[in-house]
């Protein structure tokens, strides 16, 4: 089976993996320990994940 015959996700993992990690930083170390290049994006859900506060903020224009 050639690369082109594999499902897309398998094609992805058949090549060198480069990761953008969004949110929890703990995953970064595990990936780096496996020799994988990782770019970390420091992101949190709006209002720390409080849905009521996030809804208010959305209406107030954030």
């Amino acid at each position: 089976m050639t690369d082109q015959d594999r499902p897309q996700y398998q094609q992805l993992l058949a090549r060198k993996v480069e990761v953008v990690n969004v949110g929890l930083e703990g995953f970064v170390k595990d990936l780096r320990d496996c020799g994988i290049d990782v770019v970390h994006v420091d992101w949190k859900p709006s209002a720390g994940g409080d849905p009521q506060m996030a809804a208010l903020l959305a209406k107030l224009g954030v």
Partner: protein, 416 residues
Amino acid sequence: MKLIEDANQQALTRILEGEPRLIDIVPARELIPGLRERMILHAGPPISWDRMCGPMRGAVAGAIVFEGWAKDLPTATKLAANGEIEFHPNHHFGAVGPMTGMTTMSMPLFVVENARFSNRAYCAINEGLGKVMRFGGNDASVLNRLAWLRDVFGPTLGKAIRAAGGVDLKSIVARGLSMGDELHQRNLACSSVFLREIAPWMARTSTDNAVLAECLAFIGQNDQFFLNIAMAMGKAITDPANGIRGSTIVTTMCRNGTDFGIRVSGLGEQWFTAPVEMPEGLYFAGYSEKDANPDMGDSAIVETIGLGGFAMAAAPAVAGFVGAGAPSEAGNFTRSMGEITVAQNPEWTIAAMDFAGVPTGIDIRLVVDSGVVPVINTGIAHREPGIGQVGAGVVKAPLACFQQAIVAIAKDLGVS
């Protein structure tokens, strides 16, 4: 929301257009209508005697003796505990005060006028380091120094300030930022520049060389002398930005050793409070965290205008002093505060940040959305009255104040 964006632009414009000048030193009773016998103004949001922390109680007792309302500290404490002293926040009377922030009728206050909006704000004179009333000190040495400030230093410096026609403050702050000050835990440069400007006028107006030398030395030996002037300046700059309906810009941050309080432009005089946090920092020899009092003082008014912790990048030496990490990490604090502010101040720039302006205009929406809270550089007081400063550190504003304010402004604007 257009109403909020327009209101915030107006609040920001008022903050940036302020023209603060130090114009005088005057006894508090002549400046503040309603400040009378047995009435004490304190730092932070409103608080009653029973909830006051140790240093605040110590300072209150000292202030009562200083004003002659009681003959000694035990009697003064009884007077306060029996409800015979009236307490109000400085902020309700156009004033601010560092740490315990005691303001009573005979204390001389700096007068800062915001020429752009014709308003004034006041702050007591910085007492220097060591055992002082702002850290809860109240023994004879503390009260004697306050008497000297009232009877000798205040009148001497006030005369010089008036003869000079006032002192422009924005330019001193701009120079101080370029010389390593952040205007909260480091005021060495601004104090020195101020002394350079005012010393000739003190010489011209003084009639007693010994007094002149004593007054010059008092300023010259106190690296934090300019802090109280900067605080009155901050109050004079932020007051005109308060009361703009819909604005989510913070106009006050302060603490009383028990509660942290904020006020927001669109919500006027309303306080939003939460338990104040303990500073994280470094302690003087012989002291540790177990000696520390939770944070206090109106001095966070300097962070409210983009200085102090917000301008940490200008003062890498401070990062080490307050235990905030390596000097090379100072810029991270300023960048982080940029995430919760709506603009930079083009008149107050930081060379180490490629002359970016200090982050200005804290937006409660950005704070709650990001979870990033204002950082404040602060002194640490001993938790027992009468001992004084035991360290310096960084404290974070409690997120709960900003969450409460979001709910209140949403309600005010009919958003649910």
